[in-house]
């Protein structure tokens, strides 16, 4: 007979965020893509975003977000036994960003790995971390979403240059006496892999990189909009049902910050009533992929401290295509 561990219920203990200091308004983007501030605001809701400095790395941003999350949870890195980093822009295939991060944060013995689930990465991580705590595999898990998308965005691409940005967000997930993270509803639509791509592969650069274009993100806006609004919103509704929570019982809706139009139409599809606060961090942060949900959570709790401890629906979706979502209780006031 094999012995097994058993854990406890799980909860989000704290959230931390980091944004680079450089604010980039639409006016700085528009000339290269022959666009206007009004056009970008109307299509995406984005007014400005943050770009990392050239020497500011994925690890720098992740470290800052983690330190804030740890301090708000009143924990130190010694308390953390597992670190999950969600990113698609750490520019090394191996070793992982997570192992570099634990070395920097001062606990090089923690379990650590990266996940590649693009803009759904944070919710994939929350789901895994919650299950690790519930099964007794881990006690305290740091889940980090971090991206430096400016390294993989073509500033001349009229479909993407105004969307993507940089930043990091982190949560500590730990033990709880009551269930505070609902079941994860996740999956893929891999027949639509082409809708969001980073090509070519590194193999193209092996011998002669002359004439090979850098693997910037390319996106089919209409296809992604349709999938997000009409398929992913159904997954969000399933996450609510799995948690036994009705839309009108939510305090906040914190979806991946891809586009205000997606956020608003998705909320309508799910049946989110006006009483629920809808995160719209995209307006000032742009789309930061895996970082967008924890960043939106952190900024929402700063603007609306009354939402600490409230119920929120999280839903991430992105390249793959992949999605994941869950209902969570927002962390208490630090």
């Amino acid at each position: 007979m094999i012995h097994v561990r058993t854990g406890t219920h799980s909860r989000i203990m704290s959230v931390g965020g980091y944004q680079p200091s450089r604010v980039v308004p639409n006016s700085e983007i528009v000339d290269r893509i022959d666009s206007t501030d009004e056009w970008i605001r109307q299509r995406t809701g984005i007014e400005e975003r943050r770009f990392a400095a050239p020497d500011e790395s994925v690890l720098d941003m992740a470290e800052a977000a983690c330190k804030q999350a740890l301090s708000r949870a009143k924990l130190t890195m010694a308390d953390i036994d597992t670190v999950i980093v969600a990113t698609i822009t750490y520019p090394f295939q191996a070793p992982s960003a997570a192992t570099a991060l634990i070395a920097r944060l001062g606990n090089p013995k923690a379990a650590a790995f990266d996940i590649n689930a693009a803009c759904a990465g944070f919710c994939y991580g929350v789901g895994m971390a919650s299950d690790f705590v519930r099964s007794g595999t881990s006690k305290h898990v740091l889940v980090v979403g971090v991206e430096k998308l400016t390294d993989f965005t073509d500033p001349d691409d009229r479909a993407t240059a105004f969307i993507f940005a940089d930043g990091a967000g982190a949560v500590v997930i730990g033990p709880s006496e009551t269930p505070q993270i609902g079941p994860t509803e996740w999956g893929s639509d891999a027949d639509s892999r082409d809708a969001i791509l980073m090509e070519p592969s590194w193999n193209e650069f092996r011998n002669d990189a002359q004439g090979i274009s850098w693997p910037n993100i390319a996106q089919q806006g209409q296809a992604v909009f349709r999938w997000a609004v009409y398929s992913v919103s159904k997954a969000a509704s399933r996450a609510l049902a799995a948690a036994g929570v009705r839309p009108d019982q939510l305090d906040a809706f914190i979806p991946h910050q891809a586009n205000v139009r997606i956020i608003e139409t998705m909320a309508k599809e799910i049946g989110i009533p006006d009483s629920v606060v809808i995160a719209q961090d995209i307006r000032t942060s742009g789309n930061t992929s895996a970082a967008s949900i924890p960043l939106a959570m952190a900024s929402l709790l700063e603007e609306r401290p009354d939402l600490h401890g409230g119920l929120a629906l999280l839903i991430g979706y992105g390249a793959g295509l992949v999605y994941a979502g869950q209902v969570v209780q927002l962390p208490p006031k630090p």
């Binding site: 109307q42 299509r43 089919q220 806006g221 209409q222 296809a223 909009f225 349709r226 609004v229 009409y230 586009n259 139009r261 139409t265």
Partner: protein, 82 residues
Amino acid sequence: MSLTQEAVLAGIKEIVEEVAGIPAASIEMDKNFTDDLDVDSLSMVEVVVAAEERFGVKIPDDKVQDLVTVGDAVNFIVSAAK
């Protein structure tokens, strides 16, 4: 199921009015969604999905960009429903 051009046009008028707030009276077969009706690429997706549900047809993502005028959409739906 067979649909007439008139019935589909009437349905598209209602959908565009609902999605984009364009008065149905100003929507005719020769109107360009983008230039004449100010239906942008994302609103166009909402129009397409509503039309799929209403008329029971499939309008694939790669066909959406070919629907430049109201007439293009009406004719596509009429032939898809045959």
